[in-house]
Symmetry: C2
Amino acid sequence: MEEIPKDKVTDASQGLRAIAHELRLSVLCLLLDGPMCVHELMEATGAAQSNLSQHLTKMRLMGIIKNEKRGQQVFYRIANPAWGDLVHALKQIYCPEMCAISGGDV
Amino acid sequence: MEEIPKDKVTDASQGLRAIAHELRLSVLCLLLDGPMCVHELMEATGAAQSNLSQHLTKMRLMGIIKNEKRGQQVFYRIANPAWGDLVHALKQIYCPEMCAISGGDV
DNA sequence: CATTAATATTCGCTATTGCTAATATAATAG
DNA sequence: CTATTATATTAGCAATAGCGAATATTAATG
């Protein structure tokens, strides 16, 4: 494997912390399907408004998601599509049966 | 995208927490190249023995790594190779220049 | 058995995280 | 301007995480 410079490991570990939370990971997964506004995320997750807002702020400050104001609503979207690959890898680990691996030697 | 059951999101977020730390992520990356014993990890990371041991224990309890005793040494290895894919996705996000994507439409 | 090397565990402390309740801001409607 | 809706921010607290120092355990060696 490639050597990763120390400061990149620092960045990456901080990025991981930003999604290493049940609610924040749920939000990330939801946003993989496209942008959503806060109250849509509230309904989808069942989270309290203040709590959700704080988590969204944290993810935004860590560069995971971006926001865009439209009228009185704020839409959030994933900043880098590569997070989709990471979530996919996570699925392979925690719900392999969902990934339905067609061909692979054990 | 596929819907992920809530309990799987819980598991996955806990798994992420287990690697969302600079030292633990470093250990994960090191172990991607193969098993290592504790003092090798100490040298490679520069971490204090007690501290490293605590982090290894945490990762082991979370099922990220496994250990095997050989003599008075304990070797650690990654429990699921799919963590390599996840680290790869992380590299795409935090050090894209290292991934040297050959062909890809922007 | 005594010593040393490798690793794990416990303790005490500080720092960080996560949550709720309350309050603030901003846009829109009337 | 007032009220309402959508979202953000702040404060205060409980829970968790992370660290070093000290101690315990386990295996090898003499």
